[in-house]
Amino acid sequence: MLKSYETVLIFNPVLKEKEVQEVIGNYRELLKSYKADIVEEDFWGLRQLAYPIKKKTTGFYLVLEYKVDATAIDRLEIQFKRDENIMRFLTIRMEKYHLEYNERKRRGLAGRNRKKTEAEKTNEEGQQQS
């Protein structure tokens, strides 16, 4: 049975952007071999870490949302663990509201880059005037 998962990967900042894309490409292939269905791929780029990991203070972030059979997750995580390019990973089984939230985010209704609705915009303008 296919289940939805979300994985956050932190890549080593020593890599070049191109190399990171290569590694990501390999994982795309790997996921394909597990018959996974990639819903979304969000590459954040180089980002400052809140604390050093393996003496590095930055890292490339990648957020993947995909549907895959539960048995593939173990194998996938072993790959993550073995890969030296990956400093940290986090895989989460997505629940109902998480899926809903991501869907809304894709349409620009939730999250950090949320577009404001008309009602909110007029509200803000009113506040500025008063």
Binding site: I10, Y51, L90, H98, Y101, R112
Partner: protein, 97 residues
């Protein structure tokens, strides 16, 4: 001069006056922001939002301060812990805000 001041005081006695605003002692009713705003999912990838639930040292704030319902406090805690794991929030720090 002295007489003038006394007259002023007598005028004040007619109405009840407080030195401090009576609203200061009153507690504002706490509420769960998730229930009020209809937020159903706590995103662990959004540090700005999670900042509201941790103190300067990066520790989780108790429910009695945030006013979260138990259900959402649990979810906030889970989200903060996930955010720490992926180095979006620090485990220990000083002067976070």
């Amino acid at each position: 001069m002295n007489r003038n001041r006394n007259r002023g005081r007598n005028n004040n006695n007619k109405e009840v006056r407080y030195l401090t605003s009576p609203k200061i002692g009153q507690q504002r009713k706490k509420y769960c922001r998730f229930k009020k705003l209809g937020i159903k999912y706590v995103d662990y990838k959004d540090p700005e939002f999670l900042m509201k639930f941790i103190n300067e040292q990066g520790k989780l704030l108790p429910r009695r301060i945030t006013g979260n319902s138990l259900k959402y406090q649990r979810r906030v805690a889970q989200a903060v812990k996930r955010a720490r794991h992926i180095a979006i929030l620090p485990f220990v720090t000083d002067l976070l805000k």
